[in-house]
């Protein structure tokens, strides 16, 4: 049976992890490779590296990081953040990334999805969508949720699927950082209307939130950052509890 995936997300700036991490056993808390290795050993199913640096050196630094991660890590990982061209993606995949995630660049230029899928295949193209509710309507936002667009979540998600994306990473800006659970209603609707996997993001605080997002939200994978970084939830314990709840997981 296909297992539900647990996906820690690491924010990267200039090749280093930025969100505070609370691992006493880390030699270097800012080293993404070391952190990735720990998560991999703990049973993470996949990793996401989100690059938030904006320097000119960015591309090279990120490519170097991808190479170092691929060298060490034997589980799949996705790289996102500021990717806006076929060339950007080519460099990351050549260096060993399994998937890339695009966000703003896809909203600004939707044809980019088709171009990437044609060149690299659906399997490695993840489209990340950030959205929040405005007057009862889910509206797609850019720049980490700061800038609203004209696009509505479900229409945009459908278009993303039709253009060939292999997976959608949906972050609810209304839930992100609240530690109060994922946006399960919207997630379930995405799963019902689309036929590609959906990764839930935003709102993880307790184990029960993961259970709920798999059961009620019908999510295929759940992404979280701080609950893992601050060891509020251990991945091994989380998976054991999910298994007890009858959710298929890889242990």
């Amino acid at each position: 049976m296909l297992a539900k995936r647990i996906v820690p997300c690491l924010d990267i700036k200039d090749g280093r992890t930025v969100k505070g991490v609370n691992f006493v056993d880390l030699r270097d808390a800012g080293d993404p490779v070391e952190l990735a290795e720990i998560y991999s050993k703990e049973g993470a199913d996949e990793l996401v590296f989100l690059d938030i640096s904006a320097t000119e050196q960015k591309r090279k630094t990120l490519a170097d990081l991808v190479y170092r991660v691929a060298e060490k890590i034997n589980i799949p990982f996705t790289v996102g953040g500021g990717i806006s061209s076929v060339e950007d993606v080519d460099v990351l995949l050549q260096n060993g990334a399994d998937k890339v995630s695009i966000n703003s660049s896809a909203v600004k230029n939707p044809k980019l999805i088709n171009d990437l899928v044609a060149k690299f295949g659906s399997q490695c193209i993840v489209v990340a969508i950030d959205a929040k509710q405005i007057e009862g309507e889910w509206i797609v936002h850019l720049v980490g949720g700061k800038v609203p667009t004209e696009r509505k979540l479900f229409e945009w998600a459908k278009e993303v699927e039709e253009r060939g994306a292999g997976e959608i990473l949906f972050t609810s800006m209304d839930h992100d950082g609240t530690k109060d659970g994922f946006a399960n209603e919207a997630l379930a609707k995405l799963s019902q209307e689309l036929n590609i996997p959906i990764i839930a993001s935003g709102g993880a605080g307790k184990v029960v939130h993961f259970t709920d997002t798999f059961k009620e939200g019908k999510a295929d994978a759940a992404l979280a950052a701080s609950v893992f970084h601050f060891k509020e939830i251990g991945i091994g314990d989380l998976k054991k509890e999910l298994q007890e709840e009858g959710i298929p997981v890889r242990i």
């Binding site: 199913d45 995949l93 997976e167």
Partner: protein, 196 residues
């Protein structure tokens, strides 16, 4: 031991190279027929779309060489699919090593299948020290149905071939290079096969 990864332009081979490196070996990337023929083990990777990958393979002239190889050959993901008779994807004629046709998952399930699924009914030395129902990582929209050459089964919508074997040819639908310790064991087993 000389390990050659066939380099015909299809997809991400860096991860396979690294996985072999983690096992203490070095793999060479090559599209040179003499180099491939002289290898102890050959790995035939592939990601992306079947018809364009097959075009690249035909352009490299390797489509006749691969079926004639005598040493252990391991096709991974799309590599395995191209070793079959044909694929529904892009209506592609394959290498015809495995006597099975690759078809698309139905709309009953989300496509592509992405993630960790279990392998069962393990039937070859390729799976030495691998337990039944271990998880392996897959990303695919098309699959090889069960057939006489199936040596591992997985289930998504239907039961299908997670791995195939014919003589010295092995094919795995999953990515051993991304399947954690289980994948590493399978790659190790492949590299330990007798070279003829």
């Amino acid at each position: 031991m000389k390990i050659v990864i066939i380099n015909y332009g299809a997809g991400n081979i860096q991860s396979i190279k690294f996985a072999i490196q983690r096992l203490g070996y070095t793999a060479v990337l090559s599209d040179d027929p003499e180099e491939i023929k002289s290898a102890d083990k050959v790995i035939f990777p592939g990601v992306g779309e079947a018809s364009s990958a097959m075009k690249m393979l035909n352009a490299s002239g390797l489509q006749t060489l691969i079926p004639e190889l005598k040493q252990p050959v391991l096709g991974i993901c799309l590599g395995m699919q191209l070793m079959c008779n044909k694929s529904e994807e892009g209506n592609t004629t394959g290498l015809g090593i495995f006597d099975v046709d690759v078809v698309r998952f139905s709309k009953n399930v989300k496509v592509p299948q992405i993630g960790w699924n279990q392998i069962t009914s393990l039937k070859s030395g390729l799976f030495d020290k691998v337990d039944d129902k271990e998880h392996i990582y897959l990303v695919h929209s098309f699959y090889a149905p069960l057939c006489d050459e199936t040596i591992a089964t997985s289930e998504y919508d239907v039961a299908y071939s997670a791995a195939l074997k014919k003589d010295n040819f092995y094919g795995v639908q999953f990515h051993p290079e991304k399947s954690s310790e289980v994948g590493a064991q399978i790659l190790k087993n492949f590299l330990s096969l007798e070279s003829n």
